[in-house]
């Protein structure tokens, strides 16, 4: 009886959002228990990262009614994580974060299933990522965000009028925190700016001049970077410094202390050493909780349509008092990652040389002296001479063959753009489609899948 009574109350708050109509809802919103059921049974959410934000996200999403979650993280639990990564205990130190986090949330939230993946994000293929309806990011690096963004954007398709096909967009919700500051954003590829459209939002890393480190250190970080960047190589030769190796870190700390004493500089501590070397800003549990809550709510809104979503970038600042602001950033129409690129239709017999000539005439490109790169391979490089020579023999081959006989794919061209009698350099994304081989496509698909 107690069981039965607790069931409706468990989704009581959720029901207020999902079972009732409203004014601020998405046009596709269809309130009702079916929606609630679909949300619970069918929607698959991937959480990337099981650290400070990831722990919060998993808990928030599980408590928001999502039942099919997966989490991916390459790290193991460290003792310093325990103050804020609340799913972990002292006895978990050394275990994979993804596995422990999944287990703990499943223990506490009945009915939720969380599949952990203890590996690097690059180890999973596109098929893995395409399985999810939405991806929530709790990461601390630009590089990892950029990677997941590229994967999600690669699922996006455009129609022949360059309009994004909404049903192919895999939305992302991205959270990030640094101390008392944080952001939460919604990325719907093709509709809102992708990570790459706005990468300039990230401030450049502080880098001290090497000669200052070597010659005129003025503060504790200078001493630490001297030990880390200069002294380490001097003493250890070719051995790479590993920031996760505590012996290495201790060595750098000891050297930094000597350096600081020599110049009469105070303030070198072991934790500052870690902070400077790993570029760590102290993480604050409450910031993670606030940002993650915003992300979980956006995830629920995007998936259910129960409300308009954040549009599209929320910043939070809790340094003094509290300040939040939402900014609507715009897409970069030429974005190489999420943009449509220029559609080029070709016969399978067109050689690379002919293709390059065609780009010069193409009204949307007007690109001369193009260099062509396809999926990490240089098909032709105009410069430098050493690469020109290595790629020249491709010019006489059909592009179709050079693209491994796929019916359509993306490639990139760099060259001189001649627009309005002005020349400028340009890098363009091209959507190449080969004519008249659709039938072959389907057969290939069946064979390859």
């Amino acid at each position: 009886m107690a069981e039965a009574a607790s069931t409706p109350s468990k989704s009581r708050d959720l029901d207020k959002l999902l079972l009732r109509p409203g004014n601020l809802v998405d046009p596709n919103f269809e309130p009702g228990t079916e929606l609630r059921l679909a949300l619970q049974e069918q929607v698959k959410v991937l959480v990337v990262g099981a650290g400070g934000l990831g722990c919060e996200l998993l808990k928030d999403l599980a408590l928001s009614g999502f039942k099919n979650l997966e989490v991916i993280d390459m790290d193991r639990i460290e003792v310093t994580n325990l103050n804020r990564q609340f799913l972990f205990r002292l006895e978990d130190v050394g275990k994979p974060k993804a596995e422990v986090a999944a287990k703990r949330v499943m223990e506490r939230v009945k009915g939720v299933n969380i599949v952990p993946h203890f590996c690097r994000i690059e180890e999973k293929d596109n098929e893995f990522y395409s399985d999810f309806h939405i991806i929530a990011l709790g990461l601390d690096s630009i590089e990892a965000r950029s990677y997941i963004n590229a994967v999600a954007c690669s699922f996006l398709e455009y129609d022949s009028d360059d309009n994004p096909r909404e049903e192919t967009a895999t939305p992302m919700v991205d959270g990030g925190t640094e101390g008392f500051k944080g952001h939460a954003r919604v990325i719907k590829p093709g509709f809102t700016p992708c990570f790459e459209c706005t990468i300039w939002l990230f401030p450049p890393q502080v880098k001290f001049p090497l000669c200052t480190l070597a010659e005129t250190p003025r503060n504790a970080p200078h001493c630490i970077e001297y030990a880390h960047l200069i002294k380490w190589n001097e003493v250890h030769g070719g051995k790479a410094f590993d920031p996760d190796n505590s012996d290495h870190m201790k060595w750098v700390y000891d050297e930094a202390v000597k350096r600081a004493e020599l110049f009469g500089i105070p303030g070198v501590t072991y934790s500052l050493t870690q902070g400077v070397v790993k570029n760590i800003i102290p993480a604050i549990a409450s910031t993670n909780a606030i940002i993650s809550a915003a992300c979980a709510l956006e995830t629920l809104k995007i998936v259910s349509g129960c409300s308009k979503t954040l549009s599209n970038y929320l910043t939070y600042n809790g340094v003094e008092g509290l300040h939040t602001k939402v900014t609507e950033f715009v897409r970069d129409k030429d974005c190489l990652v999420c943009g449509p690129g220029v559609l080029v239709e070709l016969d399978t017999t067109v050689t690379l040389q002919k293709f390059i000539d065609m780009l010069e005439e193409h009204p949307k490109l007007l690109m001369s002296k193009a260099s062509i790169r396809y999926r990490g391979k240089n098909l032709y490089m105009q410069a430098p001479p050493v690469l020109e020579e290595m790629t020249r023999s491709n010019l006489s081959l059909p592009l179709y063959d050079l693209m491994d006989k796929v019916p359509k794919d993306i490639l990139h061209a760099t060259g001189t753009i001649n627009k309005d009698n002005k020349k400028s350099s340009g890098l363009r994304k091209l959507r190449v489609v080969f004519k008249g081989i659709d039938g072959v496509t389907d057969m290939d698909m069946a064979g390859g899948a």
Binding site: E127, E166, N233, T414, D444
Partner: protein, 183 residues
């Protein structure tokens, strides 16, 4: 509810198709921007570039500088470049592989060039860096020393500096340090 479910199945098939072949390395945005930098390189005749890992790996390459004037005339200096996937948000990591007696390059190959660290901007490119490196050999600068001794000699006794450079490049000792011949 967004139009999630109708299409997911199909999309899964497509993902299977597009990558059904051998898994392809992801193309990072940094790689694409680098592709542009490299295809637009316009190097001075004293500098050349090579790609030890073949024509497709642009993220790791070497630049050879052969100064045609100044203290380092006749020497050959090789730099390794390592470019990050988030280039140009971050500058490339550049090291001098040739042991050199130089005020702004230390014996481990660290290079003190402002645009490689504190003054890097995403609008700069590989060409700018290579010109910067070349410039270090025509205009070594005692005000930003990484090799303290070499900087002091350049400042106080340019004649001695010149002969030290010649000796180092010929593969001899300067003070306690033995250099490898690079002419």
């Amino acid at each position: 509810m967004i139009k999630l479910f109708k299409v997911k199945e199909k999309q899964r098939e497509n993902a299977g198709n597009a990558d059904g072949r051998a898994p392809v390395k992801k193309q990072s945005a940094g790689e694409l921007r680098l592709h542009r930098d490299i295809s637009e390189l316009n190097l001075p005749k004293t500098c050349s570039i090579s790609f030890p890992n073949g024509k497709d790996d642009l993220m790791n390459f070497e630049v050879t500088v052969r100064p045609d004037e100044g203290y380092y005339l006749g020497g050959t200096f090789i730099f390794s470049f390592q470019v990050s996937p988030v280039y140009p948000h971050e500058p490339p990591k550049v090291k001098c592989k040739t042991k050199v007696y130089h005020p702004n390059i230390d014996l481990e190959g660290n290079v003190c060039l402002n645009i490689l660290r504190e003054d890097w901007k995403p609008v700069l490119n590989i060409n700018t860096i290579i010109y910067g490196l070349f410039h270090l050999f025509t205009q070594p600068n005692h005000e930003d020393p990484l090799n303290h001794d070499a900087a002091a000699v350049l400042r106080d006794n340019p004649k001695l500096f010149e002969s030290n450079v010649r000796r180092a490049m010929a593969g001899g000792y300067v003070g306690q340090t033995l250099f490898t011949r690079c002419m």
